[in-house]
Amino acid sequence: MIRLSNICKSFNDQVVLDQLNLTVEPEKITVIIGQSGCGKSVLLKHMIALIRPDSGQVIVDGEDITSLDEKGLNQTRKKFGMLFQDAALFDSMTVGDNVAFPLREHTRLSEKDIEEVVFEKLKLVGLTESFHKMPSELSGGMRKRVGLARAIALDPKIILFDEPTTGLDPIMKDAIDGLIMKTQELTQATCVVISHDIDSAFKIANKLAMLSDGRIVESGTPEEFQASKNPVVVNFIKGHAETNNQN
């Protein structure tokens, strides 16, 4: 379980998170929605202590990770897998080596077994033929899928996805949504997904949370969200529906 309580975070004078509270339930998929630039990525990075809050606590499995030292953090982060918004692949390594990286670092599997796992994960994201390519030879969407394969390589207990489907075509979007749900089902992982896409958010979420003005303004099940009277939420969902109708 991840619990963020009273998180404040500012960059220079810009307040990004302001007394934010959020509980991520274990073994569920929580989708965080919100406008571009409202601080979703910053929020996600707090959960794995890549960004430290100015004040407040981040509790992961009962432990406050804001006060952990480097060694303790190393232990805690091993529970996590993370997909970065821009994939953050190591550009000096092939796709295969990228996905193999966490396995080589944290398991004692033989090279042959590692290759097998890598192949299996790449197959899940439909990129087996890119095994020997360098990240610079891939499209943005392909890179994102490699990042996804790397994030789930170790079958982590907690997986953070920063916009896993942004920039993908509708068919691939569906496939990745399906992959996230399937992975969660198989490994019973706690998943936090950031999404711009309301449709897929409603489809994959067990719980939704909406970030606005540095706070979680609404959280609940998809049904509760549909029924919400909060104008910010209604506007966000409706605005989305309107743009969809225009298309």
């Binding site: 990075k45 794995i48 890549l50 480097e70 953090l73 190393n74 232990q75 982060r77 091993k78 996590f80 993370m82 970065f84 821009d86 953050a88 692949l89 190591f90 550009d91 000096s92 990286f101 966490p102 670092e105 944290h106």
Partner: protein, 257 residues
């Protein structure tokens, strides 16, 4: 008056703070050096990369400085009939000063800047965050191997540079200026002792540490996209070169007393 003091003082305070931060960075890297895993493969890869990147430019610099040294000293020494000392002068200058310093400067330009650019790019594209997220410490994974490679490879490159520089001096002195090769060599062997060479190598190891430390530090603290990477690279070259020359004075004053 006080404001004027504040104004002139600020850059100095900044410089001292910066050196403090670089020093802390170094201590951090050293503590990560002694923790497992040792990551020897990465160290070898960096040693190869520093060596391969720099060897050609080091060779060219060395051979031409050796040649010009021979030429200059020859014209100077001929005035009082000291042509025989050309070999000794070239060898002493190469091993004590020019070998280590020019190698340091050239490796800064090639490998130091590359370190800043590589690590800086990894910073702005979140690859360093990705390392943290995967419980791999980037100081240990990226910085430590480069520091070790810098410290180990610079003496190696300096030996090559010393040797090639003296060769260049020999060729110019003996074949072009018709100095007696026997005298050229004999005087050289007379006057250059192992201590000179050894101290030069110690200097070069220090320069190797300086340039890789600054390259890694600047890369690691890069902010602001491609522009930031460019800035970090330029700053690395300038700061490393200045630091090498300043520390050269103090190392020399300390060692060749």
């Amino acid at each position: 008056m006080i404001r004027a003091l504040e104004y002139t003082g600020r850059p100095f305070i900044y410089i001292f703070e910066e050196f403090g931060r670089i020093f802390t960075f170094l201590i951090n890297a050293i503590t990560w050096m002694v923790r497992p895993p040792l990551r020897l493969r990465l160290v070898f890869k960096q040693m190869e990369s520093v060596g391969v990147q720099s060897i050609i430019v080091v060779l060219i610099t060395a051979v031409f400085t050796g040649m010009v040294l021979a030429l200059q000293t020859f014209y100077g020494f001929r005035m009082f009939g000291g042509e025989g000392l050309v070999g000794a002068t070239v060898a002493l200058s190469m091993t004590r000063e020019i070998g280590p310093v020019f190698t340091g400067l050239m490796v800064t330009a090639r490998a130091g800047s590359a370190m800043a650019a590589e690590i800086g790019t990894m910073r702005v594209t979140e690859q360093i965050d990705a390392l943290y997220a995967m419980s791999v410490n980037p100081i240990q994974y990226l910085v430590m191997p480069r520091l070790v490679a810098g410290v180990l490879m610079l003496p190696f490159l300096t030996i090559v540079s010393d040797f090639i520089g003296i060769m260049g001096g020999y060729v110019v002195g003996v074949f072009l200026l018709n100095i007696n090769p026997g005298i050229f060599m004999a005087r050289m062997v007379d006057m250059v002792n192992l201590g000179d060479i050894f101290n030069g190598l110690i200097k070069s190891a220090c320069f190797g540490l300086i340039l890789s430390l600054i390259g890694c530090y600047k890369g690691f603290n890069t902010r602001g996209g491609a522009e930031g990477v460019g800035k970090a690279t330029t700053q690395t070259v300038v700061l490393s070169c200045v630091s090498i020359l300043i520390s050269d004075y103090f190392l020399t004053a300390f060692m060749f007393r």
